[in-house]
Symmetry: C2
Subunit: 225 residues, 2 copies
Amino acid sequence: MKTRDRIIHAALALFNEHGEPNVTTNHIAADLGISPGNLYYHFRNKEQIIHCIFDQYAIDLKVSFEPVDVAEAIEASLLRYLDAVFLLMWRYRFFYANLPDILRRDAALQNKYLAVQTQLQVNISQIMINFRDAGLLALADVDLKVLADTLKLVASSWISYQTTQVAGAKITQTVIYHGVQQMLNIVRPLATELGQQRVTTLQHYYLEQEQQYLEQQQKITNSEL
Amino acid sequence: MKTRDRIIHAALALFNEHGEPNVTTNHIAADLGISPGNLYYHFRNKEQIIHCIFDQYAIDLKVSFEPVDVAEAIEASLLRYLDAVFLLMWRYRFFYANLPDILRRDAALQNKYLAVQTQLQVNISQIMINFRDAGLLALADVDLKVLADTLKLVASSWISYQTTQVAGAKITQTVIYHGVQQMLNIVRPLATELGQQRVTTLQHYYLEQEQQYLEQQQKITNSEL
DNA sequence: GTCTATACACTGATAGAC
DNA sequence: GTCTATCAGTGTATAGAC
């Protein structure tokens, strides 16, 4: 792998592990066993590294939220949406953990972020509308918008919120699975009877996913003994 | 006012104005026209200042959320709760804007915060239960808990979330009023018909409050011309 | 209580040799 | 492309005079 890519890769891992504000360019260089000078040969500054990571995030997001195929089943689209939310939250968790800070420091990045978010808002609203048209939700337009906004807020804030609510607050996949469950919990009481069934099915699915993840972690722990 | 108190006061104002991470002890001292050394005579470090501000916050919170009088009308308790949420979010907005960061740096503060939050959680759940017992909400226990959690998350994350979603993102009372409206919007579709009426009444009330605030701002702007 | 001066640690960033 | 060396800037915190 090229040094430039290795830097991006290491930076993402370190940011996720220790939090972006705690990771300096010196740390990144040290982690890779290269000199700070070398890092600055490849990047003008730390912000530029974050920009590159964000660009990758934006691409991942775009791919995950490709316009919904009309033929695609409603549940499939919601599943795909939630899977994407989960994956992105996990892969770029440092970002979700420090969003306000990172964006405040960098107006250019904030603009990029807003553009991405606007598109996301459109997509999530469309999913809600499809959901209603399929008779799974029975909500007025206003309430549908409120729901979409709430879900977006929960998705955006979940990791950050969890770090404040739990003491040692290490971000694990379990934390994120609980976020997905919370989102489904919010939708459920607003759904029609049919919709509630579908939501419950999804919740069981994610409960299983979480279970599998935990068992896998257990195996790893055991094999280390 | 004693210098110590003046420091706390100035620090809170500067934190709210510029964001806690952007305000150094030097800034605080300069703002008061005292020397940095003098500031450090009164406080061991910046963290201690934040601790003092937090203690004040905790007291304000405790006062606002005194156990609900059984005789108190349901709407009155909700109104009191929302007014308190609004006032605290406004008075200590720097805290809501940077919670994860501030708590991560200071384990002692996080413990204080968790203790306060636990109590808050109990109170908000009780309000929900009262709300249901009065026939304003028709929700199962599980859904009631989800609702309480969601409202707490929205309240905690609102300011921080708004700073990411809007470009220049200055925190104004309007932003916070919108947060209160969003909370009520979340409750409304879950309420009984009677409950929806009450929620709508509250929403009108806060819309008026916001309007009054805006008119007042307008007056100030005009008088400056 | 308050000031001036300064030490200390650390980050981001650059210059110039190899 | 990569390294060593180093600088300027900044923020926290302390020492000692007044």
